[in-house]
């Protein structure tokens, strides 16, 4: 029996590969480093440093003035909390609703299943921008229940609310497809064994399929979180009060006739941190799922 030994690459090839990796790292890291470093510099210095290595190093007149300026100019704390809340709820509801839909499509047998699946996948080709305006009109007619003091009040229209930023994005064709693909790879014998033991469909979903779908959940979480966090056009159209605005709309506050670039960089740094943290937390599962599902974000 032959013994497997690790393949060793020639030194030159190894060095070349490492050089390419370092180069790629620099290409992707430089803009982020530039953003963070510039967030501590005054505007004039940002531009003066642009053509030298100093652009990537915190040297010169370094201070937190830009961050103070950000909080003076926009309700950044409120916007961050809004985005964290909206994105988190969208992710949680999205995972639940889309995985349930995918479960029904991949594990259960019912009439019209293929047609529904084809229809869901077909919606992927319709860009959101094409129906955004009709959607505004439509959601403005929808009813909602609101507590006003101790009274339950039926109101019309969802404009200027949190739910209008969440609910239209919970059901997502791509997430359903991703879960469907992943669920299809889980052996059906597990379902059958569970049913013999008296498990309901929901029990199978909750106790068997979902616990085995960690990578798919992580991928959907990230792919749902990113557009929710980056959402700009939709909140712009449906949110009129500052108290409901998310972070991406906030960045436009800085683009006045004389742009305060240091503040732009400070604000951009602040809203990038949560995304980076999320990616780092789910990195392993995310990459694993992408590799297995053959998709990219």
């Amino acid at each position: 029996m032959a013994v497997m030994t690790p393949t060793t690459l020639p030194l030159g090839r190894t060095l070349s590969l490492q050089a390419v990796r370092v180069l790629l790292l620099l290409v992707f890291a430089f803009p982020i480093v530039f953003m963070f470093v510039s967030s501590f510099k005054p505007d004039a210095q940002i531009f003066a440093d642009l053509t030298s290595w100093r652009a990537f190093v915190p040297v010169g007149d370094i201070s937190l003035d830009n961050y103070r300026g950000v909080f003076d100019r926009v309700p950044a704390g409120r916007m961050l909390m809004n985005s964290i809340g909206v994105s988190t709820i969208t992710v949680v509801l999205g995972i639940f609703v889309n995985s349930l839909a995918a479960f029904a499509l991949s594990r259960m047998r019912w009439r019209g299943q293929r047609v529904i699946l084809t229809g869901i996948i077909a919606t992927l080709i319709v860009p959101f921008e094409t129906f955004a305006l009709p959607l505004v009109w439509w959601i403005n007619k929808l009813p909602w229940l609101e507590m006003q003091g101790f009274r339950l009040v039926l109101t019309e229209g969802w404009l200027d609310t949190y739910q209008v930023q969440v609910l239209p994005f919970v059901a997502n064709a791509f997430s359903i497809f991703l879960f469907y693909q992943y669920f299809s790879s889980i052996p059906r014998e597990l379902d059958e064994a569970a049913r013999v033991d008296g498990a309901s469909w929901f029990g199978i979903y909750r106790r068997i399929v979902m616990p085995l779908s960690g990578p798919a959940v992580a991928t959907v979480a990230i792919l749902t979180f990113l557009p929710a966090w980056n959402s700009y056009l939709w909140p712009l159209m449906v949110v009129q009060s500052e108290e409901y605005r998310p972070v991406m709309v906030g960045i436009q506050y800085f683009f006045q006739l004389n742009v305060a670039w240091g503040q732009v960089m400070a604000y951009a740094s602040m809203i990038t941190v949560p995304v980076l943290a999320l990616f780092l937390a789910f990195q392993r599962a995310f990459i694993g799922s992408i590799a297995s599902a053959g998709v990219k974000g």
């Binding site: 100019r73 339950l152 109101t155 049913r195 712009l236 709309v249």
Partner: protein
């Protein structure tokens, strides 16, 4: 395997439904008003402004509102600010949902389109209120005033006296602005000096409305225009005629000779104060930072006369009344209150914006005759050309933006301009000449 509801769960569900039904029956159905609500005899108006993030101007907006609210028991105005780049989209979406505020500010060239689309209605205030206003600060459409502004801004050539002296270039004034040939020679001298990255900054990194605002006056100085202003139904002959072609070639020549960057830096004012460029085509908003940096050495010169006189764009942000407003008279009362001269003075004093009336200008040292920024007032009075006063303007603007980008990128100017004319004419035709 199926689960049937037990009689207990059924009872619980029915009780819950009944309770919810009773609760709802006990409550009145309510809906948000559009732009104004009245409660206990107090009418609350909503007011939208594009000044989100613009602390200085927003502070004046808020001061006007606070003073109005303090002087009125029966009307209250609530201000909502949006960031400028997002503002038009927010208004368009609100109009689609019938949720426009009562009072809103509008970028001047959009007034005809918003009036035509039914977003706005005429102010309905006495014309006497606007006596002495700069023409560019009134939104007059179909012979009715739809909007008024407290201020305007003015394009100009920003440079330094020391730079012109060093290269032996004449300092132009309104009596004798630079000619095209003089300007070309000036740029050649500065270029030859090798001191600056580029002798001239046209602000080509700018996008959106900056493009027609900044470059259509130059086109007009060459003798072309964005549309035939006799009929407002075609751009044929004016946007693709020999004068327009000359203008397009002038732009490409500047790039080919290395006088301007094909795409300039993101912030032309900062590039200028950092010494990268010698002359900048910019607005009066750049005056304060430039003056801070260079003091008396800073010059804000009149535009070049390319044959048909110096021209600059006219019209900035103005206040209007939405057609959705259920409390029109209250909104008019607010607008009339806000048109006091003291507020014109505030905008000019605190923001260095050009006051919209001579009366206000006289009260602002910088803009009074002989003042540091008086030239801007004179440029706005003498050179301002309104962007085409037609509902077609947003389409004309976006078409011109694309054409300008194509020309700078090396597209054949005649082909690009012919295509722009064809698109504009087709749009106007498709919209029935945008008749009211």
């Amino acid at each position: 395997m199926s689960h049937r509801p037990t009689s207990r769960s059924r009872r619980v569900a029915m009780t819950t439904a009944l309770a919810a039904g009773l609760a709802l029956t006990a409550c009145s159905a309510e809906s948000d008003g559009s732009g104004a609500t009245t409660k206990d005899g107090v009418t609350t108006l909503s007011l939208w402004t594009h000044n989100g993030g613009n602390e200085a101007e927003l502070a004046i907006n808020e001061r006007v509102v606070e003073e109005f609210n303090a002087s009125h028991d029966d009307i209250k105005v609530e201000i909502e600010s949006f960031p400028q780049d997002a503002y038009n989209d927010a208004v368009t979406a609100a109009a689609a949902a019938d949720k426009l505020p009562c009072v809103l500010d509008i970028d001047a060239p959009n007034v005809p389109n918003w009036a035509w689309a039914g977003y706005l209605e005429p102010l309905g205030l006495s014309d006497d209120l606007f006596d002495g206003q700069l023409e560019s600060t009134l939104g007059v459409v179909d012979d009715e005033i739809y909007s008024f502004g407290h201020y305007d801004v003015a394009l100009n050539l920003v440079t330094r006296r020391s730079t012109l002296e060093k290269y032996d270039i004449r300092v132009p004034d309104m009596d004798q602005p630079w000619t095209a040939q003089e300007f070309d020679e000036a740029l050649a001298k500065i270029k030859a000096g090798g001191e600056f990255t580029y002798p001239f900054d046209l602000g080509t990194a700018g996008g959106g409305e900056w493009i027609p605002y900044a470059y259509s006056p130059i086109l007009q100085s060459f003798g072309g225009d964005l549309i035939d202003r006799d009929s407002y139904t075609t751009a044929e002959g004016v946007l693709n005629g020999p004068e327009a072609l000359e203008w397009a070639n002038w732009n490409t020549d500047l790039v080919e000779k290395g006088y301007v960057a094909r795409k300039s830096g993101a912030d032309s004012t900062l590039d200028f104060v950092n010494g990268k460029t010698a002359i900048v085509w910019s607005g009066s908003w750049a005056a304060v930072p430039v003056k801070e940096k260079y003091g008396d050495d800073a010059l804000f010169l009149p535009p070049v006369d390319f044959g048909n006189g110096p021209k600059i764009g006219g019209g900035s942000w103005q206040w209007g009344l939405s057609s959705d407003c259920p409390a029109v008279e209250a909104a008019r009362e607010y607008l009339e209150f806000s048109a006091k001269t003291e507020y014109y003075v505030d905008y000019a004093t605190e923001l260095s914006l050009i006051p919209a009336t001579e009366e206000a200008a006289a009260q602002v040292p910088d803009f009074a005759p002989g003042g540091t920024f008086r030239d801007f007032y004179d440029y706005a009075t003498e050179y301002a050309v309104l962007r085409p006063v037609t509902p077609a303007y947003p389409f004309i603007s976006s078409t011109f933006q694309k054409a300008y980008a194509d020309i700078l990128s090396g597209g054949d100017p005649q082909e690009v301009l012919d295509k722009a004319v064809s698109d504009i004419d087709a749009n106007i035709q498709q919209n029935g000449d945008y008749e009211f």
